[in-house]
């Protein structure tokens, strides 16, 4: 050794590694203090004269005030949509319609960071999800349906599809911009005009989307946005000028809408709740299955209609799965949605937090065993620690009701038949997960599970080309893919045969 080498510092190996905060900069977003309703291509003061505050669920800070649109506002929006439908949009060459949608897709890509930050601010979801999931998928959705606009007759053999007219679209708070995209993109591609009602707690990205429409130079009235609470949605549903209602939200509200529309002849699609089974067989690739469980229920704080909220584990593998799952939970980082390392963000609203707390309390009362990893939560805001319930019986409320939060109920099964029986034993039928390395078993399970989406050896994957929607009380109609066009088209009958 040289002298220099001898002078080398020989401090002991340090221990303890904490990730430093890595917040995404918030200054990319500029908010107005107060927003009107977006009607006929411009923001106007709501005739209702009412506003409501939208807060950031991670800080309880008020972000802005938005319009509480009343009947008159909805009427004006529907009128603007009707006007745009009849005077231009439906007669526009489909290839031109396509180009507007392509423009929107591109602008969303260009402004994706701004949207991602706003989405996380207003809704509480981790920035890594809004950045890596919500925004790319939103842009992709517009890009996908853009291409359909001038190819509709190829999608429905022997038919000459026509737009339905004015579509009233009511979207939830869990994926605000993505659900907007799921609704608006196919509607416009099919030649309809739209009145969109964003969720009460997450209206801001929809309002920012209005600025995308301005940049895309979309003709006024083709898309109108009315914010407000459930009353605004109800006005939209019952407005006689609306030809079609598309709703994503709870089964309870979905049923109310279906009842409200009874006899009206309006077209309706519903994407409602779920209580999906995520089924782990003993030959599954275990570590990946555990990731799938985590992604299935803690993605977006479990605010996912297709969340894998019921874990069905084959008994022979129960212990290692639960051990691995618990260990994995200790690595989940809960906190500031804008921190790039956050895995689980804030619960969307106080109301939702209370609902989760109530159901979790019921689970403990009914006798399930609760596990929550050690976790320090911020003082302000709405938070819930990722939770696993074991010793859950099929009859417990936490195994039956949609919690819509980061709460997993674990049940066991012994045979494939039992897994199918338990998985299907619910009024819902939105999604299911299957984990096994055996190909024939995957196909058999996929065949027997009553669910609109079956994820085999994966979970919570979405793509604009891939139809999504429920069986049974999870709703009807599909969003995404070729099938996602159908709700927005009249398919003219060909010659009657016989």
């Amino acid at each position: 050794m040289t002298d220099l080498e001898r002078k080398q510092d020989r401090s002991p190996v340090p221990s303890g590694w904490d990730y430093a905060p890595a917040p995404e900069a918030r200054d990319i977003v500029t908010l107005e203090e107060r927003y009107g309703v977006y009607v006929g291509g411009e923001f106007v003061e709501p005739r209702s004269g009412e506003h409501l505050a939208t807060v950031s669920p991670s800080s309880e800070e008020q972000l802005a005030e938005v319009a509480q649109a009343g009947p008159e506002d909805v009427d004006l929006a529907v009128g603007a949509a009707r006007d745009a439908f009849e005077n231009g949009w439906s007669a526009l060459a489909p290839s031109e319609r396509a180009k507007y949608l392509f423009r929107i897709a591109r602008i969303l890509q260009e402004r994706s960071r701004e949207f991602a930050v706003l989405e996380s601010l207003d809704g509480g979801k981790p920035i890594k999800e809004s950045r890596d999931v919500d925004l790319p998928l939103s842009a992709a959705h517009f890009f996908y349906y853009a291409g359909w606009a001038d190819k509709l007759e190829y999608a429905f053999p022997n038919r000459s599809p026509r737009p339905v007219g004015v579509a009233g679209q009511i979207i939830p708070w869990n994926f605000p911009l993505l659900m907007l995209s799921w609704k608006i993109a196919p509607a416009l591609a099919a030649g309809n005009t739209v009145v969109l009602k964003p969720a009460e707690t997450t209206p801001l990205t929809a309002l920012l989307f209005a600025d995308v429409l301005r940049q895309a130079e979309l003709p006024p009235g083709v898309v109108n946005i009315v914010t407000g609470d459930g009353r605004t949605g109800a006005e939209l549903v019952k407005h006689p000028g609306v030809d079609k209602i598309a709703f994503t939200g709870s089964t309870e509200v979905g049923k109310a809408i279906q009842r409200e529309l009874a006899g009206s002849g309006k077209r309706l699609t519903l994407e409602l709740g779920g209580k999906a089974a995520n089924i782990i067989f003993d030959d599954a690739a275990l570590d990946q299955a555990v990731e799938g469980i985590v992604n299935g229920i803690y993605f977006n704080q479990g605010h996912v209609c297709c969340a894998g909220s019921r874990l069905l584990v084959q008994e022979s593998i129960y212990e290692p799965v639960i051990e691995k799952l618990k260990r994995r939970l200790t690595t989940l980082r809960v906190g500031d949605p804008l921190d790039k390392n956050t895995d689980v963000g804030a619960i969307n609203s106080k109301q939702q937090l209370e609902k989760i707390e109530e159901l979790v309390a019921s689970g403990e009362e009914e006798g399930a065993e609760i596990y929550q990893p050690p976790c320090r939560l911020p003082e302000k805001g709405y938070w819930f620690v990722p939770t696993v319930f074991t010793n859950v019986a099929q009859s417990y409320r936490i195994a039956q009701e949609e919690i819509f939060g980061p709460v997993l109920s674990v049940l066991t099964f012994r045979t494939p038949d039992e897994a199918v029986e338990k998985a299907n034993n619910t009024p819902y039928g939105l999604s299911a997960g299957v984990w096994t390395e055996k190909g024939s078993r995957i196909l058999s399970m996929a065949n027997r599970l009553e669910a609109g989406v079956v994820w085999a050896n994966t979970y919570n994957r979405f793509d604009p080309t891939s139809p999504f929607g429920g069986y049974k009380e999870s709703g009807f109609g599909r969003e995404g893919g070729l099938h996602g066009l159908e709700p927005y088209l009249e398919l003219d009958e060909s010659e009657v045969r016989g």
């Binding site: 429905f156 009874a262 006899g263 995957i442 609109g452 994957r461 080309t465 929607g469 069986y471 016989g498």
Partner: protein, 265 residues
């Protein structure tokens, strides 16, 4: 001296059997006493339809197609009986040809209505149609035979089972059809046919929590009420028409299932 003909007793068709209404009641239609089904008959019929569903949907498409074709054969061979009880020979021929047309769809509609989806990630992704389950059919009054067949055939070919309310004023052809079905290799319970008063039966069918879809082809003023009842379990509501025939009629009673699987080694 002319021979006194033996009359047929017109009964219900439930679970492959021909029971009288549990109510013990009948009503007179087309000069005959016809069973007047009750809500309990609706209940029993739905139970039969649910029980038959797994087997019917589990049959191969080829097999289902053959069963539907067999229905056409059975009807053709009873052409006269049908013609007498329905709107004449022309209507029967139309109905027979309809079965043949739909029989041919059994192993094709999935190829027309399904998709393989090119997702932007390493996953194999496809969407296939599946039967929705138990379908209630409020058959149109007219035409009494072909109206029912036009609504029933697309439901069956998709693998659903059905509970159908026959034409109220002209129910005889429907029962005649039941007899053809019973001899046409259609498993018991796949089709259940009830005669009676629509206003007494349709609400029970529309409100039944184990019925997945309802076709209101024969409903009229009662549509709003029936649709309201249907919302209770988010039923798929179809306002069918007797003159429609296309694969989209099949699609109306199908669910779409999307399956994802990673592509890896």
């Amino acid at each position: 001296m002319s021979r006194l003909p033996v009359r047929k007793t017109y009964k219900l068709f439930i679970g492959g059997d021909f029971p009288r209404s549990e109510s013990g009641r009948t009503y007179e239609a087309q000069g005959q006493n016809v069973a007047r089904a009750s809500r309990k008959d609706v209940r029993d019929a739905v139970r039969s339809a649910r029980g038959a569903f797994a087997k019917w949907r589990g049959m191969t498409a080829y097999n289902r197609g053959q069963v539907l074709y067999r229905i056409a054969e059975m009807m053709e061979s009873r052409m006269e009986e049908f013609a007498e009880r329905a709107g004449g020979r022309k209507e029967v021929e139309t109905a027979v040809d309809r079965w043949v047309w739909y029989a041919g769809w059994a192993d094709k509609y999935a190829q027309v209505l399904g998709t393989s989806n090119p997702v932007a990630a390493p996953y194999f992704n496809f969407t296939i149609p599946e039967p929705t389950g138990v379908v209630g059919i409020v058959a149109p009054d007219e035409p009494p035979l072909d109206g029912l067949v036009a609504r029933l055939a697309p439901v069956l070919v998709g693998g659903n089972t059905a509970v159908a309310l026959a034409s109220e004023p002209a129910p005889l052809a429907a029962i005649e059809l039941a007899e053809a079905l019973a001899t046409a290799d259609v498993p018991g319970g796949v089709v259940n046919i009830l005669t009676g008063y629509r206003s007494e039966l349709a609400p029970w069918l529309a409100g039944h929590m184990d019925v997945n879809a309802i076709d209101l082809a024969g409903a009229d003023g009662e549509i709003p009420e029936l649709e309201r009842l249907a919302a209770e379990n988010v039923k798929r509501v179809v306002r069918g028409r007797a003159d429609r025939q296309s694969p989209y009629e099949i699609a109306a009673f199908l669910e779409l299932k999307t399956v994802w699987h990673p592509i890896g080694v």
